[in-house]
Each structure stands twice: as structure tokens, then as C-alpha cells.
Symmetry: C2
Subunit: 353 residues, 2 copies
């Protein structure tokens, strides 16, 4: 079968390979992949800057944002042929840490997890995969091919869960949310903020393309200025860019008792000159919280499935700005000016942008 | 009666003044002050760097760490003559914000609170005060003059409450605590960490004086090196120095899913060159939390009273390294090499260091 494979650590080593069908394993679910979303982590892996192959191998099957359809499922698995499913990306070590042991592999404390398509486990960028039933999450059939948005949405379901749990450390009546970055993560963060009834301001650099309309389509406000220019301080900030100067600005501009969620990964080695004393003083005197979040566990995938089920499907489909057939997978990697989410279509050889 | 007063904003303006007795107010408790603790905020006010007088006045009665004894209490107040009491420092605005309205003035969201001895309310550095019963917290009579430690302990009771509430955002099994700074706040943080059964490492610069023994007396470890030299990463860090480079180091050296509590106020304007991208990346990929905390509400004073009641009284009395009579109040301000907590004694004219 066909698979997009890459040699982690070597730039531009990706290719469409012919690999063996997944080996039949007892109590596993055979899934045909319908679609694969492309994200920043994939691009980093393709550049040779991130990723680890399975032990003893050179190449890794790419892809962690997937949508598949069940071809065969064992009895009692809760899944049947035809179900739409998404694979969970992270898998705990067989000897789990205390968090992995309770299913919170997203909070792994010893770093021994593996991740499909990223870290030591083949990804979902191939025609068929076999997974244990508990590594799959069912998607509402009404969502159809929009189910490929489940994995990125799970990241925000976790972020929102953590924001709300941390926020409730004291009396908590948030009203205003700031989201920095109007890429897929920022837009899904905004969608979930609006679902909670919050006022949401979104900050991004671009003035044209689909982002401003996507933001306004959610009833949120779109800004291209500086954080300091926003009319009021946010109670909740979700930072989705990883841009160092913006990370600092949102920490400074949080409301008293505000919660800043860092959800964007930066590259290291970007040094700024910073008044750390002033920043510490404002965090202390205002009881502010700053926290980082990554990955998601099963309850976040399930919360994400609920969030997508109640979202406006016309809006969700506008989030996917290009669909590229598997035969032209390389077109999905090269960023085009107005891309938001780009998806590789594994079924329709003739789909195009 | 005598009072230590100061003109906020003017350095070295403090003096022992003669002021009017507190006016009799219905349903108020008359308290004679027994002792006043001196802290960093007092020193800042004395330097003219902080503090606000009551509206329409030039001078402020100093002092917010107090111990008093009830002289007269209204029936039904829950207090009787002879009770040891401590005044709560912060008072919400008559038109409270949503946090102040539920008694969480420590989390005030609009900054309109006032503070005895700091912000627009006379402090407790005078012979007698009158307060409403709900502005006083009763101290276990067995604590005696150690009750003056209640207010600083309340700061840590809040810090620990917030650490535990934030930590429980996910599965949480902390073992190791790092405390930076072995002043009164760091030592009380350590005491409360040990009461919870945690292993505690304490980092400070000094190698002599009482601090190493005070730390070891709690069954904690004392270090004078760098954060990076500690044998293991802490699950919980309580930063009590406000020193900018240490603030950055503890953020970097927190364990995955670690919680860093910033409890030390820095001066602003101390610029460091910092790899913000690398710091953001490690906060995100490790699910780390950093939060600031200040002040305390009634439930924290009550938790602090419990923590002091179960502490070793011999250890607590070693924390108070000098007692100075009111007539020599100025001796309490000038820092001496081995000071930990210095207390001004309002009753005993002959007490000395």
C-alpha cells in the first residue's frame, strides 16, 4: 500500500513509498485512511528538524491528523464497519508514568511516550492502519470529511479544560478572551471560546485572505495591531503563535487574575532583552497564571468531537482551504498565501484545491 | 497613644508620633497591639518607594504584620476580652469587584482594595486599634507571642492552596519542592511543604547565620549553589526572592507538569537577555505552570492559624531572630547580618535582641 514516509533528521527526504499492509493483530481494528491534515509539526519533520523513526528503522510513516473508516472491527469493540474514526496520536510507554497510568498521557512526566507520525511510531499517512479499539475515537457521521479536524480540535479541548480548571482556583467570572494567531489552532480556540459564550478578540498579522472572515464568521473580532491596542485586558489568553515577543506581550497584558495559555511552540534560540523583574512583579501583584499545554488524551478527543458536532459545518468546511489528492501530496506541504488547513485526500484521486 | 507613622513617598520620614485614640465605632473590637513584624514591604515604604496615605492625609500609620489582644468586644462577635487576634491586611472597596464580593479580596480584579499600613488605611503600628469583628482572626492562645507570624504565614497558606488547586488540573502526585530564598517567607513555605510530607530543597545565597539550621530543623535540605545543581527537578517551586535571574532559572528547571509559584516581588527595570522562544517551548512541551500570588483572604488566615498551631513552637521562636521594644523601633528597620524575622514589641519596654 502507499504511504508518505520520511527519514527524520534529513530534510526533504519524504516520498510516497510502497510499504507492507499492516500486520493482522488480535483484537485490532482495520481502518482505511480517508484524509490526513497537515500541520506545523509535519512541516518541521519534513525539514529534518523534528521527529524520530521507530527503533531500528530509518524511515517513519508521516501524519498524525487523520480521518479513517473502519473496515473490520472485533466484536465488542464498540466499533463497526463503516464508522468514521480518528487515531489518538500519543501512546504511553508500556511501563507508564503516574499520569500515563491513569490515561493522561498528554501530561506524561517522564517523556517516554511515543507518537504516531512524530515519535517512534508510524503515522496515519498510509492507506490502511490497524489499531487497538481504545486508540480510536468515533466521529459523528454527520461531520463526514470534517472529522479530519478532530485531532487539532482535541488540542484546544485540552487547552480549554486546563484554562477552566486553573481558572477555578478562585472565584472565576471570565468574559473576554484573546487569541493570538488565526491559523487552524487559533481559529478552533476561537470557535470553542465562542461556544462558551465569551467575547473573543483575535490578533493576527495578515489583513487579507480568509482569516478575517473566518474570525468574524464566529462572531469574534479580528485585529492586526498590537496587544496593547486592544480596548480591554483579556481574562483568558490563548497564545497560538509561539512568537517570542508576542508571548511576552500577552503575559504583560493579561487582566488581574488572568490566565494565559501558551499553545504555540516556538523555536529556541530567539533571545530578547526583557525586564524580567517587571514581568515577575506584575505576575505576582496581579495573581496571574501562565501555563503551557501540548497534546491531548481520550477525554479531550471526546470533548473535541462534541465541540465539532455542535459547530457550524459550513464554517468548519471553510477552515479547510485546500484538499490535495494523495498522488499530489507534495502540493499539500508547500504553504500557499491563503492556506489555513490543508488536507491530503486519500480516497479521491481527482480532488483539488 | 504612640504610633509609628510615615509619609509615603518620602524616604526616612518615619517617626514615633502621638496620635488620637481610635474613635469608638458601633460593633467594633478594641485591640491592644502586642507586637508588629517588620517585612520587606515596610522597608520599601520607609524608603519612600511604596505606600499610600489615607485620602486627605499626609501620614500613614505603618505596620501590617500584627498581634493584638482584645480589650473590648461586642456581644455576639465571637471574641472576648483577652483573646489573641491578628488584623486582616486587605479590605475590599465598599463597591466590591466580583472576587471581593465573595470574600476573595486577595484576588481583587479592579485594584480598588485598601490595605492597613500599606494602601490608604492606617496600619497596626500603634498602641490600640478598633476593627470590625470580621476583620480579625483569632490565634491559638498556646502560640502566645508567636501569633505575630500569622500574617506572613497567611501568604504561604494562600500560595499552597493555589499550588494544590492548580496542580489538581490533572493527575497530581508531587514529591519534591524547591523553595528559593530562606527568609521568613521561604522558611514558612518550607514549613508548610514539610507539613504536607514533601521533600523540600531550599536555595539561598548565605552560608552562615541561622538560615541553614532553620532549614535543617524542618527536615529540609539547604543549598547555596545554582538551581541546575540540584539532584532532581522539583514538582513544585516556590520562588520567594523576586531575583530576576532566579525567576528565569526556576521556570526552566521545573519538572514536566511542574508548578512554579512566584511569591517574591521584584523591582522592575532589571533587564535580562533571555531566550524567550526556548522558555516558551519548554513551558508548552512540558505542560508547565507559572503563577504569581499575593496577599491572603480570611480562609488563608485560618489555614495559617492551623499550620502554626501544629508547627514546632521552638522552631517558630527561632524564626524571630530579634525583638525590639517600641521605644527603639528604628533598630528593627536597619537590617542586621543574621536577621530572619524582626519584631517590634509594643508591651515590653525592656525587651532586646
Amino acid at each position: 500500500m502507499r504511504a508518505i514516509t520520511v527519514q527524520p533528521g534529513r530534510a526533504n527526504s519524504a516520498e510516497l513509498s510502497e510499504i507492507a499492509e499492516p500486520a493482522a493483530v488480535a483484537n485490532s481494528v482495520l481502518v482505511e485512511i480517508l484524509a490526513l491534515g497537515v500541520c506545523g509539526t509535519d512541516v518541521e519533520i519534513l525539514r529534518g528538524e523534528y521527529g524520530w523513526p521507530p527503533p531500528g528503522r530509518e524511515r517513519l510513516v508521516l501524519g498524525h491528523e487523520s480521518l479513517g473508516r473502519v473496515l473490520e472491527a472485533p466484536a465488542g469493540s464498540g466499533l463497526t464497519k463503516g464508522d468514521l474514526v480518528v487515531g489518538i496520536v500519543r501512546r504511553p510507554d508500556p511501563v507508564p508514568c503516574s499520569s500515563c497510568a491513569v490515561g493522561e498521557w498528554d501530561m506524561c512526566r517522564n517523556g517516554k511516550y511515543t507518537e504516531h507520525g512524530i515519535k517512534e511510531l508510524d503515522g496515519f499517512g498510509c492507506e490502511r492502519v490497524r489499531l487497538e479499539p481504545d486508540r480510536l475515537v468515533k466521529v459523528d457521521p454527520k461531520l463526514g470529511d470534517l472529522g479530519v479536524l478532530l485531532e487539532p480540535t482535541s488540542i484546544l479541548a485540552k487547552a480549554w479544560e486546563q484554562i477552566e480548571r486553573i481558572g477555578r482556583r478562585a472565584h472565576w467570572e471570565p468574559h473576554r478572551v484573546l487569541v493570538t494567531g488565526a491559523g487552524p489552532i487559533g481559529l478552533l480556540a476561537t470557535m470553542m471560546g465562542r461556544q462558551r459564550g465569551f467575547e473573543v478578540d483575535v490578533l493576527d498579522r495578515v489583513t487579507d485572505g480568509p482569516k478575517p472572515q473566518l474570525v468574524r464568521g464566529l462572531g469574534a473580532r479580528y485585529h492586526t495591531g498590537k496587544v496593547e491596542e486592544l480596548p480591554k485586558l483579556p481574562d483568558i489568553t490563548i497564545e497560538c503563535t509561539g512568537a517570542p515577543s508576542l508571548v511576552v506581550d500577552v503575559m504583560k497584558m493579561s487582566s488581574p487574575c488572568g490566565v494565559v495559555c501558551l499553545a504555540g511552540v516556538s523555536s529556541g534560540g530567539r533571545t530578547l532583552s526583557l525586564d524580567v523583574g517587571g514581568l515577575n512583579q506584575s505576575l505576582v501583584l496581579e495573581n496571574d497564571v501562565v501555563f503551557g499545554t501540548v497534546n491531548a488524551n481520550r477525554r479531550h478527543y471526546e470533548a473535541a468531537a462534541e465541540a465539532l458536532a455542535k459547530a457550524d459545518r459550513a464554517w468548519l468546511s471553510r477552515l479547510i482551504t485546500r484538499r490535495v489528492p494523495l498522488t499530489r501530496w507534495q502540493d499539500a506541504i508547500g504553504k500557499q498565501p491563503h492556506d489555513v488547513k490543508v488536507v491530503i485526500d486519500f480516497q479521491n484521486a481527482t480532488s483539488g484545491s
